[in-house]
């Protein structure tokens, strides 16, 4: 298990190679490394905290988990479902262990009078929104806003869920993957960091195609050359749909 001893410098051994499967409690490395996501440090040793793929990024060691709950971070774009409404606030389910708040003031451009207008007319229980996380900390539930371009209520289309840990792969480097999918299919796609993807296409068959693509990315997230294979899949499926 620890036969892959790779020595970096004299006293900074790394015990696994990039893309190795590691388990909670596995000793990853010793010495002056930084414990990234999915890891923890005890004394000067870094261990894996989850089951996943080991990644070495310079001095930062990470483990990309197979599964995991979404934990909100400021500036994340998320796709949420309205689950409750009060006079001046919406409660939004964002697949996190915390319900998020969208105060009316973060939705309307002008202040509204809660006595005169019912905010339910704008967003009601069951509606799906794309929003940005403004803040989140231990003292306060996640706070959302929709007051930016591209944010707000989503209409039509379909919601596809995937593991939040795989979202970076769907987006690709500087958006390369998701942009390629949009170009190849002509579909509108919004990716939420919380593992929800909204797609809207000309026909339901294309929405099914996107779902297929997402499942492929989820399964093959750890492999290289994925963008090309996904493009190939889309082109083949498009041919099939033409027939």
């Amino acid at each position: 298990m620890k036969s892959l001893k790779v020595l970096v410098g004299d006293k900074m051994p790394i015990y696994f190679q990039s893309k190795d499967i590691v388990l909670p409690g596995d000793l990853l490395a010793e010495g002056d490394y930084k414990a990234g996501t999915g890891t923890f440090k005890e004394d000067s040793k870094i261990y894996s905290a989850v089951i996943g793929l080991f990644e070495i990024r310079g001095k930062i060691l990470r483990v990309i988990s197979l599964e995991g709950t979404y934990i909100p971070r400021p500036n994340d774009v998320v796709i949420g479902k309205i689950v409750d409404v009060s006079a001046t606030n919406w409660k939004v389910e964002i697949r996190a262990p915390y319900l998020a708040n969208l105060p009316a003031a973060n939705y309307f451009d002008k202040p509204i009078d809660p006595l005169k207008s019912d905010i339910r007319r704008y967003l009601n229980v069951g509606d799906i929104i794309v929003a940005k996380v403004v803040s989140f900390n231990r003292a306060q539930d996640p706070l959302l806003t929709t007051k930016e371009r591209g944010l707000g209520k989503l209409r039509g289309g379909r919601i596809i869920e995937m593991s939040p840990t795989k979202i970076p792969r769907l987006i690709g480097r500087k958006g390369s993957m998701v942009n390629m999918i949009k170009e190849e299919t002509g579909c509108r796609i919004t990716v939420g960091q919380n593992g929800r993807v909204w797609v809207s296409c000309k026909t339901p068959e294309y929405e099914e195609l996107i779902e297929k693509v997402i499942r492929k990315i989820e399964l093959e997230a750890h492999t290289s050359g994925l963008t090309d294979r996904v493009r190939e899949l889309i082109r083949k499926e498009k041919e099939r749909l033409k027939k």
Binding site: K81, V83, G126, I128, G156, R158
Partner: protein, 271 residues
């Protein structure tokens, strides 16, 4: 508050409805198709009978335990059976620990009705000393993974577990019941099977998955015996059904119950 899992998003609702209008479903099935069914009998050696059923991603375990007890005063020469369903919180984010809630009790009672009204069990054969000692069968259904249509999975599990149940022969000596070593089959003479429908907008779909259950207006379960007699029926949900829905459902159930009955393993001994 875990009810937030039951709130269907408007987008999901619209897409399920518009697919149904085109005769399609989320998982690619036709409106009258069941998900894949597997039924395994005799999986729990400590039970007198048992069955593990998967219906798509739905998983249930049914077990039968036997005891000797007293008959009901109005049926002194008949054995007794009870059906109980446990919606254990393992199975769904909306299930909570605690005694059976109204959904679990409804499920158990619909399964009970199918078995009772079809006279599936020959209760007279469970009588040991009339008015004093009879066999009591406890049928317990454990929901392990709730991905929709618990009714049909549970009916299949219960009847398979009963078919699979073994009981000892007994003899009565000087008013005492003596349990013998020889095991015999539990007296089953009918095999009731149910088919459940969800009404989505104005379409009927067979064997609803959990996403469809979240958006359905109403649910209908029809249980039939092998002679096409309807032996139990249950409408659920806040919406309504039309006469033609019910008639159509019966015609579909007639075909589907036969198909499902074929999948029930017979003559498998327990343990």
């Amino acid at each position: 508050m875990q009810k937030i899992h039951k709130i269907a998003s408007e987008i999901e609702k619209d897409s399920i409805i518009s697919l149904a209008e085109k005769g399609k479903r989320l998982d690619g099935r036709g409106l009258e198709d069941f998900r894949e069914v597997t039924i395994e009998a005799g999986v729990i050696e400590k039970a007198e009978g048992s069955a593990y059923v998967t219906l798509g991603d739905t998983k249930i375990m049914a077990g039968v335990k036997l005891e000797i007890g007293e008959p009901f005063p109005d049926t002194p020469d008949k054995g007794v059976f009870t059906v109980n369903a446990e919606f254990v919180p393992l199975a769904s984010p909306v299930f909570e620990p605690g005694p059976p809630d109204e959904d679990a009790i409804e499920l158990a009672r619909v399964i009970d009705r199918g078995i009772r009204e079809s006279e599936a069990i020959d209760l007279e054969k469970l009588c040991i000393i009339p008015g004093e000692k009879v066999w009591i069968a406890f049928i317990d259904i454990y929901i392990l993974d709730h991905a929709g249509n618990l009714f049909d999975a549970s009916t299949l599990g219960s009847i398979t577990a009963l078919l699979n149940t073994k009981m000892p022969e007994v003899k009565v000596e000087n008013g005492e019941v003596k349990i013998l070593d020889k095991l015999v089959s539990f007296p089953i003479r009918k095999i009731p099977v149910s088919v459940t429908f969800a009404k989505i907008n104005d379409k009927l779909v067979v064997d609803p998955c959990i996403e469809e259950e979240h958006v359905m207006n109403a649910r209908l379960t029809i249980t039939m015996d092998e002679n096409d007699n309807i032996v139990a029926m249950q409408k659920g949900g806040a919406g309504t059904l039309k006469t033609e829905d019910i008639y159509k459902a019966i015609e579909i159930a007639k075909v589907k119950t036969k198909e499902l009955r074929e999948k029930i393993p017979r003559g498998v001994s327990n343990g």
